[in-house]
């Protein structure tokens, strides 16, 4: 049986992959085009010799959300099958630890601000990743309302 948190977790994972694979913004100027990807931005920070900054952005926009979504699926697949997830308690503790550092909704605002700044001099078209990121933020908010940590902890004990 598919439960609401599981469905939202799987949806979030698909949207997360799309957000990382497709361009965020398409930038057109004098017949030339350029696109920006989240991972390309992080890579470029590394190239520009800002490894700590790159690490902070990598963690808050890629690793923390990925861990959060993976753990959602990890916990809710066995629960949907009526089984107890292995290392249930550790998984729940990890979710609580990682959640404050997942900053996708703030990153989305950053994409919007960057787009508006660029729109002054060039034609900006939001890419597929911008849309999927917007949906992802909504799906994660919905998941937060569907997941009851208190009940999960009771199931874990």
């Amino acid at each position: 049986m598919i439960t609401a948190p599981l469905a939202l977790g799987i949806t979030a994972m698909i949207l997360f992959v799309l957000s990382n694979v497709f361009p965020l913004l398409d930038f057109g100027l004098h017949g030339r085009h350029d696109v920006t990807y989240l991972l390309a931005g992080i890579h470029q920070l590394f190239v520009q010799d800002r490894p700590i900054l790159a690490g902070v952005v990598l963690f808050t926009t890629v690793l923390a959300p990925m861990l959060h979504i993976s753990l959602l699926i990890y916990v809710f697949v066995p629960l949907a099958l009526g089984r107890r997830p292995p290392a249930f308690v550790s998984a729940l503790r990890m979710v609580q630890g990682v959640l404050p550092w997942s900053m996708l909704e703030i990153f989305l605002l950053g994409v919007l601000v960057a787009g508006v700044k660029l729109a002054e001099n060039a034609t900006i078209v939001p890419g597929l990743a911008a849309w999927s990121l917007g949906l992802l933020v909504i799906v994660l908010a919905a998941a937060a309302t569907q997941v009851d940590p208190r009940r999960l902890w009771e199931q874990a004990s």
């Binding site: 800002r50 902070v56 308690v89 404050p100 703030i106 902890w153 874990a156």
Partner: protein, 215 residues
């Protein structure tokens, strides 16, 4: 917890920081773990005040250079321009993008200052054993905890912009030293808010205040 609100600690009860399970606090108080999730149990976060002070002071030290140093350098058509946090807001304002300028101003300039000031106020008020308006002080704490993360927005703007490299001479964006320092301020104030134990506010509160409080 003498003379304060009627707290769980006064009844030898302690709630787990991680899973919320309430346990009875035995008389032997060392190496105690939550029976459900194995987190170390503490009636209050250990050394909460000194650890929070350390994070707040570190954030204050980074705050000025984070705002004075450029967060990015933009080179377009041969001319090079450096942006600080403030000039970024100014740019949005001068170009008539008021709603966005307001959001970035609040997130990047107002919130970090407010957060540091509120945390200092909370720390001092607990250390002076203040009994006034505990509920309002708790609200201030919740505000700083909720709003702090949004200051990261400028760091993300830089990340999106540096990825535009294929345009070559037309425009190139480089991250500046201020970006890392600014991210440091945000992370340090987040850690400060998390190590501050809001229950300390109630330990000195009048019992009457606690009774009249509705959640």
């Amino acid at each position: 917890m003498n003379g304060g609100a009627d707290t769980a600690a006064a009844h030898d009860l302690v709630a787990c920081h991680t899973c919320g399970l309430v346990s009875r606090y035995p008389t032997v108080r060392s190496a105690l773990r939550c029976p459900r999730c194995r987190t170390a149990l503490h009636a209050r976060i250990p050394r909460s005040l000194s650890r929070t002070w350390a994070f707040v002071v570190a954030a204050m030290l980074l705050y000025l250079p984070a705002n004075l140093l450029p967060i990015m350098h933009v080179t377009s058509f041969g001319s090079r321009r450096s942006d600080t946090i403030f000039s970024g807001v100014e740019y949005l304002m001068l170009n008539g993008m008021w709603p966005l300028a307001l959001i970035v101003f609040v997130a990047s300039i107002l919130v970090p200052v407010l957060k540091i000031l509120i945390l200092i106020f909370l720390l001092v008020s607990v250390q002076l054993r203040s009994r006034s308006r505990p509920m309002d002080r708790l609200r201030l704490y919740r505000f700083t905890e909720f709003v702090g993360r949004w200051s990261m927005v400028d760091v993300f703007v830089v990340t999106v912009l540096v990825a535009l490299i294929d345009l070559g001479q037309v425009a190139q964006v480089e991250a500046g030293g201020g970006a890392l320092l600014f991210a440091g301020v945000v992370v340090l104030t987040m850690l400060a808010a998390r190590t501050f134990d809001p229950r300390l506010i109630w330990d000195n509160a009048e019992p009457a205040d606690a009774e009249s409080t509705t959640y």
